[in-house]
């Protein structure tokens, strides 16, 4: 995505980049709301969450892009009351996958256009959400062994759906790159 020179938000994104990322967060919220009305499968919303987060990082190749999407989506979900299962921790549940995606993109800038990378990162980022639950388990005094078992049980579905969402990114990102809308191998400052 084209960017202007003047940067806001601690010098990280231009105004249009930040708006684009905010709009990606809107789609996460819309998808979460729509799927919630029709499906009752644990972790299914991870398909679109991972899709939009990884795609956003592919389109805006700057550090913190996915984290910013996660922050906006998290605050929106909190305000709309879509995360009471986690209470105020819902913001963290969106921030953590964003941080994972950003770290992965720093290590491998071509992330959004590679199937294997997207699937792995989608699964890991989606799985990272259960860290919050693990933290709560630890705070209530559960044994470490049980916390791990609990986290594994809950992360399986999340990781599966996250991997599916990640797998959907490369065809879209490649088509956008082919049309010159996003850089195919842009800089990663």
């Amino acid at each position: 995505m084209k960017s202007s020179d003047d940067h806001l938000l601690w010098g990280m994104f231009s105004l249009r980049e930040a708006l684009y990322l905010s709009f990606c967060a809107i789609f996460i919220v819309i998808a979460k709301a729509v799927l919630r009305l029709h499906l009752h499968v644990t972790g299914h919303s991870m398909v679109f969450t991972m899709f939009f987060m990884i795609l956003a990082r592919g389109c805006v190749q700057r550090k913190g892009a996915a984290t910013f999407v996660g922050l906006i989506a998290g605050v929106m979900c909190l305000v709309l009351g879509m995360g009471a299962k986690s209470g105020p921790l819902v913001i963290l549940k969106f921030l953590l996958p964003g941080i994972v995606i950003d770290v992965a993109a720093i290590l491998y800038p071509l992330l959004a256009q590679r199937y294997v990378a997207c699937i792995i990162v989608g699964a890991v980022a989606a799985g990272s959400r259960v860290i919050i639950l693990g933290l709560v388990d630890w705070l209530v005094g559960m044994d470490r062994e049980l916390i791990l078992q609990h986290m594994v049980l809950l992360s399986v579905m999340n990781m599966g759906f996250g991997a599916i969402g990640g797998a959907m990114v490369p065809p879209v990102a490649r088509r956008l790159a082919a049309h010159g809308l996003i850089p195919s191998a842009g800089p990663n400052p």
Partner: protein, 229 residues
């Protein structure tokens, strides 16, 4: 899909008037944090049951219906089954059930005040409260995102309709078959992303024209952030 679709989801604000509704969001948040902390501190059954009673009284004071309270809590029943099962597998039925139930109750009591908070706090009050904590520019993007939800919901619907007329299998019935899912991403997401980029470009120009992001003295009597409230 419009904003009204969000109203049908659970864990939503209950539009009634009560004493809890009238307390400011800041005080409610402080109370919620205290109740969450109490769930970790009170580890014995009597303490936890007293805390549960306090939460239920909170729901009653907030005039939240029992059905709505059940909707908030039913997810944790699944959690309870998982946690108790893990304890039983490790310690056996006699030694595992009670510790499992106690831990599940603690987890429930950690999240219950948050659910109650969202039930008795309207979005406008929550946003006012968040604006004090969030940096001004982040708050601006949150508010502008809310403004664009109906717009993009309409865009999705329009693009989907246009693609279906061209023969794309992205209607509800076709999407029941997972083999049609890639079509959803190919036919819907690419045009949608292009539309998003164009909208971001237009919105950025519009926002810049209103002086957003300028560090010098303001030349406008209408700050953008205030307009977007």
């Amino acid at each position: 899909m419009s904003l009204s679709a969000f109203q049908r989801i659970g864990w939503q604000f209950s539009a009634v008037d009560s004493r809890l509704h009238r307390i400011s969001a800041g005080w409610k948040m402080a109370g919620m944090l205290a109740m969450c902390s109490a769930a970790f501190i009170g580890k014995s059954f009597p303490n936890l049951l007293a805390l549960l009673a306090l939460n239920v009284i909170g729901y009653r004071l907030g005039r939240v219906k029992t059905v709505e309270m059940w909707k908030d809590m039913r997810f944790f029943m699944i959690q309870t089954v998982i946690v108790v099962a893990l304890y039983v597998l490790r310690d056996g039925i006699y030694d595992g059930v009670l510790p499992g139930l106690r831990t599940s109750l603690q987890i429930l009591l950690f999240f219950m005040p948050g659910a109650l908070f969202l039930r008795v706090t309207p979005s406008s009050q929550l946003m006012r409260s968040l604006r004090r904590w969030l940096p001004e520019r982040i708050a601006f993007f949150v508010f502008i995102s809310f403004r664009f939800i109906p717009y993009f919901a309409r865009e999705i619907s329009d693009i989907s309709m246009a693609q279906q007329l061209r023969g794309a299998r992205i209607d509800k019935r076709s999407l029941a078959n997972p083999r049609n899912w890639p079509g959803l991403f190919h036919c819907l997401m690419v045009p949608l992303m292009i539309r998003v980029m164009k909208t971001a470009e237009d919105a950025a120009l519009s926002t810049e024209a209103r002086g957003f992001g300028k560090t010098g003295p303001s030349h406008s009597s209408f700050p953008v952030a205030k307009e977007c409230e």
